[in-house]
């Protein structure tokens, strides 16, 4: 649905986004991770048709985004900006109604009433935006981005500063949109959120450092450490384990070993331990957190 090819954006002599290419498909959420100044917001603005790339191309649903196609394509895109950007003196309903009309929706008042209900905003519908909490403002802004049921959603830090309850409801809404076929690109600093929400993660630091499923990215940094937890004393099995890995260690009921080709050799060890009478409770391969992967990629940059 979105294809970005060699996207580059320079401001004067400063290159903010450098030859970034990726795709976001239908029913997919891609999380855009990166430090401050990595070019996340600039990338989203280019995809939303707000600023033009210095070079490279953006294709939305088979149509190249240009100055002449911009207005038409923007009607298919929902963009949540970094700050909610609500008109403070207007009520929640009034804010949404103006946007429903800007998107040229039929029966805008009815659409707004439905969205207010779906987003759980009924209680605040008559409140002026200035009176809302930060979380509620963000929720209204998200409702605004979804008013016209866009095929593509671009979200700049949608859960930044929100309490866990609202964060959860926002994630739920995004999950629903994914199910209904939406292509979603989310910029976030929150690695946990990226892992929970995204089908794929793009790590950006002006250029694209990695783009893959979170599990695949984590596997890249795997140490090959396998942890086996048993009931009873693991010491009688220690010699057996050492025959697989001379550096294996025991701590309490846990045996830890480092294996080359851990995925292939783990079943072999488990079978040997079971045959030797070990009562195995848990076997797991130690995986780095997405945070470790992210920091590793960033370290490689600096």
């Amino acid at each position: 649905m979105i294809v970005a090819q060699d996207l580059t954006r320079r401001f004067g002599s400063r290159t903010v986004v450098n030859r970034v290419s990726f795709e976001v498909g239908r029913s997919e959420i891609v999380a855009l991770l990166g430090p401050n100044g990595a070019g996340k917001t600039t990338t989203l603005r280019m995809l939303a048709g707000l600023i033009a790339p210095t070079s490279g191309s953006i294709v939305v649903d088979g149509v190249r985004l240009t100055r002449s196609t911009g207005a038409r394509l923007r009607s298919r895109i929902g963009f949540l900006t970094e700050t909610p950007g609500l008109w403070d003196r207007l009520t929640v309903t009034e804010n949404l109604r103006v946007y429903a009309r800007l998107y040229g929706l039929d029966r805008p008042d009815r659409v707004v009433d439905r969205v207010v209900e779906v987003f759980g905003l009924s209680e605040h519908a008559g409140a002026r935006a200035a009176e809302l909490s930060k979380g509620m403002r963000q929720k209204v802004a998200l409702a605004r981005a979804l008013l016209h049921e866009p095929a593509i959603l671009l979200l700049d830090e949608p859960t930044s500063g929100l309490d866990p309850e609202i964060t959860r409801s926002v994630r739920g809404l995004l999950d629903e949109r994914r199910t209904s076929g939406c292509a979603i690109l989310v910029s976030t600093h929150n690695l946990d959120e990226a892992e929970r929400l995204a089908d794929r993660v793009a790590v950006l630091d002006r250029r694209l450092l990695a783009l893959d499923r979170p599990a695949t990215l984590r596997r890249r940094l795997t140490t090959g450490r396998v942890i086996v937890r048993v009931t009873g004393d693991p010491a009688p099995h220690f010699q057996l384990v050492r025959s697989f890995d001379a550096t294996a260690s025991i701590e309490g009921h846990t045996i830890a070993m480092r294996l080359d080709s851990a995925e292939e050799r783990t079943p072999e060890i488990v079978s040997a331990l079971a045959a030797a009478g070990a009562r195995i409770v848990e076997v797991r391969q130690e995986m780095p957190a997405l945070e470790d992967v992210y920091l590793h990629l960033m370290d490689g940059q600096h």
Binding site: L50, A71, S75, G85, W87, R89, L90, E94, R101, R128
Partner: protein, 263 residues
């Protein structure tokens, strides 16, 4: 529909922030009071009719001898005609604050980016911004105009009210006033989309009244008397300037710079 949506937004915003219209109301009231003070109140207070002022009597002859009016009535007609032009222009200065704030204000409130992410075109955005400042101003000016003519009917010398109902008044009210307002507000909006501080936009925008003030002064001292045809020409010229300014403002509206360089 998109222009209408944004104009409605501007009205809603103004209805919650009525103080923003106070400058328009204040200058309208002042412009309303001044001619009555000069043409009616001062002569009554001093006991000196306007007709005793030979300079005024001489200048008012630009209206012709007007056998149907007394000397006093002719001078009153001259003054009310002159102040009518001032009356049409002055409220615009009050509205400049609204127009000057329109684009840069949205940027500062961080409401511009979501707005630009919609399918709205630059032309629609700028037209909506002009109308958002123009329509309330014209409504206030129209109310003031009603009071102005009401005051003339009630307070001016016999025949003045009837004499005011002429082509010159019609051209001033229906063409020159709104066209001057459009030019001033569009200028303020062009500036508003190029600067990063509403005060700068307002200060630049107010410069538009300089040529109009010069025109007024020239009329008052009798150097220049604008006939209905001349006024119609000025109105047409102002309308053409407004159209040109609209094209210029669309060309100068640089979304990228506004979003990425302004802080």
């Amino acid at each position: 529909m998109r222009i209408q949506a944004l104009v409605i937004r501007e009205f809603l915003d103004l209805s919650r922030n009525r103080m923003a219209l106070m400058p328009v109301v204040i200058v309208t009231v002042l412009a309303l009071g001044l001619p009555f003070f000069i043409a009616i109140a001062i002569p009554r207070m001093t006991g000196q009719p306007l007709a005793n002022d030979s300079d005024l009597a001489k200048v008012s002859l630009v209206l012709g001898l007007r056998d149907d009016l007394s000397g006093e009535a002719r001078i009153q007609l001259f003054l009310f005609q002159q102040f009518l032009m001032l009356f049409m222009v002055i409220p615009v200065t009050g509205a400049m604050a609204l127009a000057a704030h329109s684009v840069v204000g949205e940027k500062q409130a961080r409401t511009l980016e979501p707005l630009l992410a919609t399918p709205i075109t630059t032309f629609e955005l700028l037209v909506a911004k002009v109308l958002g400042a123009l329509l309330p101003t014209l409504a206030i000016a129209a109310a003031g105009l009603g009071l102005y003519f009401g005051g003339i009917v009630l307070l001016a010398a016999a025949g003045v009210a009837r004499a005011m109902a002429n082509a010159r008044t019609a051209v001033l009210v229906a063409l020159v006033g709104p066209a001057a307002a459009l030019v001033a507000l569009q200028t303020a909006i062009v500036i508003s989309s190029r600067v990063n501080d509403p005060r700068t936009a307002q200060q630049f925008g107010v410069l538009i009244i300089v040529p109009l003030s010069a025109l007024l002064v020239a009329q008052f001292i009798g150097t220049l008397w604008l006939s209905p045809a001349a006024l119609a020409l000025i109105g047409g010229g102002l309308t053409a300037v407004w159209m040109l300014l609209t094209v210029v403002s669309v060309a100068l509206f640089d979304r990228e710079t506004i979003l990425t360089r302004w802080r």
